[in-house]
Symmetry: C2
Subunit: 336 residues, 2 copies
C-alpha cells in the first residue's frame, strides 16, 4: 500500500508537507500543493485510517447492534434513519447483526469495542424489553425499539398505547359501536399497550368493553413474518350473536389475512366491515383493496431520534415515546 512517504518521495518533499496538503493546511505554497496533489493522484494515495485513528485517538465509528433489524422487512428504516443522522455528523455506522445468538453477540460487542466505537446503538426489530450487557456502560449507548427494565439507558420506543387509541378512535369516529380487536401475542409489549389504547378509546367514547370482541391473531412470539394465523380469531368473531362492524387488527399481516377470511362469510372490507391496523408495511397496506388504513411504525424517526440524542450529549436515561403516524387509506371507511 502506498503511504504518505511514498508520496513525499515522488513529490520531492518531506512527508509532513504531504500531510499538510492532505489536511488542507493553508501553510503550503500553492506551487508545492499542486505538485503534491499530482503525486497523490499519480500514486492513487489514500490516507490510512488506522494510522489516523491511532494518532487521533478517535475512530469516527458508531456501532449499531441489531438482532435482525436488517433482515426483517419491518425495521430496516431504523438503520436508515440512524445512518442519515450519523453521516450528518461525519460518523459512520458499523452494523452487526446478532441473530439472537448469545455467543455471537458477545463477539460482536467485543469487536466493536476493540474498534473503539464512540457510541453504541442497540436496536430490536420489535418493541420489547432487552437485557443490556454491562459493557455498554463503557461507551455512550442508546436503545431503539427496545428498553431496559433497569432504565439504565435512554430508549426510543414507539408509542403503542397511543397508536392503539388512534386505530380505535378512527373507527369510533365512523360511528361504530361494536369494534373488535385481533391482538398480537399477549406476551409482547406492543400487544399489551395497543390493547390499553383500544380500551381507552372505548372508554372515552362511552362504549362498553366486551371481552368477546378481543381475540388473538397469533400464537408464538410475534412480529416474525408468517407467524400469524387469524383464522380462528375471525371465526370466533363471526360466531358472535352480535358481530362487530369494525376490527382493529394487530398488524398488517393479520389485516391481510382478515380480508380473505371475511370473504368466506360474504363480508367485504370497506363494505360490511371497517378495518384498521398497525405497521404500514409497504408491501402490504397499499396493495390491499381497499387500501389498508394503518398506524405507521415510526422506525425512521426512532433511528434518527436515537442518534440525535447521542450527539446531543444529554444524559437523560428516560424512555421516549415516538408517535406513530396515522396512514388513512380506505379500509376504515364503509362505502354505501
Amino acid at each position: 500500500m502506498v503511504s504518505i512517504k511514498d508520496v513525499a518521495t515522488h513529490a520531492g518533499t518531506s512527508f509532513k508537507t504531504v500531510s499538510r496538503v492532505v489536511n488542507n493546511d493553508p501553510a503550503v505554497r500553492e506551487e508545492t500543493r499542486v505538485r503534491v496533489q499530482q503525486s497523490i493522484e499519480a500514486l492513487n494515495y489514500r490516507p490510512n485510517s488506522a494510522a489516523r485513528m491511532m494518532r487521533n485517538q478517535k475512530s469516527g465509528v458508531i456501532g449499531f447492534i441489531s438482532d435482525e433489524v436488517v433482515t426483517q422487512p419491518y425495521a430496516g428504516d431504523i438503520l436508515l434513519g440512524a445512518q442519515q443522522v450519523a453521516s450528518e455528523h461525519d460518523k459512520i455506522l458499523m452494523v452487526v447483526n446478532i441473530e439472537h445468538n448469545r455467543r455471537r453477540r458477545q463477539q460482536s460487542l467485543d469487536m466493536l469495542l476493540e474498534r473503539r466505537v464512540e457510541a453504541l446503538v442497540l436496536a430490536s426489530y420489535f418493541h420489547r424489553e432487552v437485557e443490556v450487557p454491562p459493557e455498554l456502560s463503557s461507551v455512550p449507548s442508546v436503545l431503539v425499539n427496545c428498553f431496559d427494565s433497569q432504565a439504565s439507558l435512554a430508549a426510543f420506543v414507539p408509542d403503542d398505547e397511543q397508536a392503539g387509541f388512534d386505530a380505535t378512535q378512527l373507527l369510533v369516529d365512523q360511528g361504530h359501536k361494536r369494534i373488535a380487536l385481533i391482538s398480537l401475542d399477549p406476551a409482547i409489549v406492543a400487544a399489551q399497550l395497543r390493547l390499553a389504547g383500544y380500551r381507552r378509546a372505548l372508554l372515552q367514547a362511552g362504549l362498553p368493553f366486551d371481552a368477546a370482541l378481543v381475540v388473538q391473531g397469533e400464537e408464538e412470539l410475534g412480529m416474525t413474518p408468517g407467524n400469524c394465523n387469524a383464522e380462528t380469531a375471525v371465526a370466533n368473531l363471526m360466531a358472535l350473536e352480535s358481530r362487530p362492524t369494525a376490527i382493529v387488527c394487530g398488524k398488517d399481516e393479520i389485516a391481510m389475512q382478515v380480508y380473505f377470511l371475511l370473504l368466506r362469510y360474504g363480508i367485504r372490507v370497506g363494505h360490511e366491515m371497517a378495518l384498521t391496523s398497525f405497521d404500514n408495511q409497504r408491501l402490504i397496506a397499499p396493495n390491499l383493496s381497499p387500501g389498508l388504513t394503518t398506524m405507521a411504525l415510526p422506525h425512521l424517526e426512532m433511528g434518527r431520534a436515537a442518534l440525535r440524542y447521542l450527539f446531543s450529549a444529554e444524559a437523560d436515561n428516560s424512555t421516549r415515546l415516538i408517535p406513530f403516524s396515522v396512514i388513512a387509506r380506505e379500509s376504515h371507511l364503509l362505502k354505501a
Copy 2:
C-alpha cells in the same frame, strides 16, 4: 483508554508479555499468564484494533456497498448471507448504504478504501446493470444481484430466465393452454429474462405465443414497493374474447393486487384462475389465500456465493446464475 502498557504496569511485567498473553502465545509461564489475565480483567483492557491493523497491515474488514439492500424488504437476505460466510472466515462486514446518491457513493467508497477493506461487495436491491467505479479494481470485488456490462467483475445474479420458465411450466403442467403474463417494467432486466423464460416454456409445450396475453403491470422502473398497478393489466386480460385461465405475475405485489382485481370480475384465484409469481415475499405470499405459489429469489444464496467466491481466490470474472427455488403453495392449482 487503557493500553497494553497500563496492563503491563499493573501486572508487573513488560508489555510484550501482555501481548503474548493476549495472543495466546504458549511461551508464557502459567503463573505469569494468570497474573496478566487478572490485570486485563481488572483494567477492562481491550486491544486497540487500529494499532493491530497498522502493525499487521490487515483490516479484517470487507466492504459491503448497497444501494438500498438494507432498507428494501426485498433484499436484506443478501446481506445476511454475506455476513454468514464472512464471519466463518473471521472477517467482518462494513455496510454502507448509498441511496443512489452519486456523491455519497464516492464518499462511502473512499471511506472504505481508507479503512483498507480487503475486499468489496457491491449489491443491488434488484437485478440490473451497474456502472462499476474504477476504484473497485484496487481491491478484490464482486457484484451481487447486478452486473457490469464490461464483465470486468465476477457477478452473482438470479437466473430469471429459468424462473420465468419454471413459473410458466408449473401452469403448463396443470393443463393450462392460455397462460397470461403480467410483466414488470420492460426496462428492467428481470422483465426481459422472465419473459424469455415464459416464451421458452410455451414453445417447449407446443403452445402458441399470444402477444395479447402479455400485459404490463407496472409503469416506472420496477421493484420499488408500492410502484405497481395491475388494474389496467387485469382489465386488458379480462377484455379478451378468450380469457386466460392462468396468469404468471411479475412479482408478488402484482399477484396480490390481482387477487383483489379478479374479484371484481367474480373470479377467484384457485378456482377460476391459477396464479404463479416471483420473489416469495415473506409478508405477502403466505398471507394470501390461497397461498401464493412463487419463485423465491435466491438472495441468501447469492450473498453466500459471492463471499465464498471472494475467499476462494479465484479470478473468474464471469457472471454466475443462481437458481430460484420454486415455492409451491396453492395458487397454481384449481380446486373443483
